[in-house]
Amino acid sequence: LSGDQDFQLFLQRNLEFTRKIRGDVAALQRVVCDTLQLCKEEELVLVRQDLNIAQAPLEQCHKRTFQAETCFSQIRAGLRIYHGSLATIQALLPGHTRMVETLQLDMANLSSNIQQQMEDLGLATVTYPTENQDPLPTFSSNFHHQVGGFFILANFQRFLETAYRALRHLTSLCPT
């Protein structure tokens, strides 16, 4: 699976792409810190319990018995969840709409790059409808909305770190 030249090129490219997306998410986190003064998770532990913030499962990419197909599927499913959640951020940061839209474009591209690679590898894939119908979370106050946005980015950053380690793990499975 992973000795194949194309797969190697796929991995190299999309490792860089994931680094780019992580950089863009970090930039958004700096904006949230600068403009909303929400910077440290440890100061929001209690208020977080009042909110139900989407957190995409990625345990298939953790497991010792690592399975590319299920891990890839979970990465794609997670990208979709966070793609939808970013609309919450867009409403919070009206001055940074283009930044969020570019991030969403990158996420959609990464997801379909993974889908195409899975198809090339003959793995089963899911094709999501282009429009995301998942209902947006509602918040009881503007403050909760801001804290919700903060945690969506924090969770997404952790998600990306795990996905990145999974892709890197795949490169290490084979001689480059």
């Binding site: 003064q37 440890e42 100061e43 532990v45 209690l46 208020v47 009881s140 106050s141």
Partner: protein, 308 residues
């Protein structure tokens, strides 16, 4: 206010004149704060990132309340955080934004000009001191039934905008002014009373030809064309001329009518002069705008013939 859940902050008022007092209160409903039940609730206030002291007491129904007074609030925009001490950290449980500033300053120096290519009326003004608050500025005029109508809204903080032709009533006096509104009040500029045509901004005329009038006079005759789109107007024009060594321009006023020709005397012989002309619509209004000066045109008067 903040959330109705575990903690809620109320601030009164939310938008205040700069330097005035602000009072706030934070109510913690312990039973709704997961993870806080056993703890002794110590409420802390933070204004942006600075700790400020409040006074805490037990409120009704087992709630903990802290009141805070900021005697002279001098931030234009700040966040007031209600926090509690928990596991050695300050947990931010609720927040309220406070803005401070001034009522809008009275816009001044309102002036308008009608653009003859699209007959849009562009007005500009000075905004005055910044109120530090979101302020909506609108150019208004008195509608035919005496009600205030919005002419145009300047884009992104500009202090000019253009009333489109469709909203204008040509050849009729209209009352126009600028209105600025924010949370602390409204201010209006002087009301201008103008007929849009009175403030028409003409393109400059074009000097077509300049000749010395023959038989040894010190006079010249010049022909000029008024700008396109002004054919139906009575114009009032001015000529200025100057020899290179002249300190200032000489001005000839009252060149009027549609004739497009004028004569003037008193020129030195064999001297190169530079001529420029400008026009405006002939109207009683002191607000009428002169066109720019036309592109300059040089002409050397003929030599004086040797006498005797």
């Amino acid at each position: 206010g903040g959330t109705l859940g575990c903690a809620s902050v109320t601030v009164h008022p939310r938008i205040v004149p700069l330097g005035s007092a602000v009072t706030a209160s934070c109510t913690i409903q312990r039973e709704l704060c997961r993870g806080l039940q056993q703890e002794k609730v110590r409420i802390r206030w933070m204004l942006d990132s600075k700790l400020v002291a409040g006074s805490q007491y037990q409120g009704p129904g087992g709630t903990e309340v802290s009141n805070l007074t900021l005697p002279r609030f001098n931030h234009t925009h700040a966040r007031l955080w209600c926090c509690v001490e928990w596991n050695g950290t300050k947990q931010r449980l609720s927040m309220a934004e406070i803005r401070a500033g001034y009522p809008p300053a009275k816009p001044f120096n309102l002036s308008c000009a009608l653009n003859l290519s699209d007959y849009g009326l562009t007005c500009q003004w000075e905004q005055g001191t910044d109120s530090h608050l979101p302020t909506s500025v609108v150019l208004k005029y008195m509608g035919s039934r005496g009600e205030a109508v919005t002419g145009c809204t300047p884009r992104g903080g500009h202090s000019h905008c253009t009333v489109p032709r469709q909203l204008l009533h040509l050849y009729r006096q209209m009352e126009i002014w600028v209105s600025a509104t924010n949370a602390l009040g409204t201010a209006e500029s002087e009301h201008l009373c103008i007929d849009p045509m009175d403030v028409a901004k003409l393109d400059p005329p074009t000097l077509q030809s300049i000749q010395s009038i023959p038989f040894q006079t010190d006079c010249i005759a010049l022909a000029w064309d008024a700008a396109r789109g002004t054919e139906h107007m009575e114009l009032q024009c001015e000529l200025r001329y100057r020899a290179p060594e002249d300190p200032a321009w000489a001005l000839v006023t009252g060149i009027g009518g549609r004739a497009g020709t004028a004569q003037h005397c008193g020129f030195l012989f064999g001297t190169q002069y530079r001529f420029q002309m400008r026009c405006r619509r002939n109207s009683a209004s002191p607000l009428a705008h002169w066109s720019e000066w036309s592109p300059g045109r040089n002409y050397t008067t003929h030599e004086k013939a040797p006498t005797g």
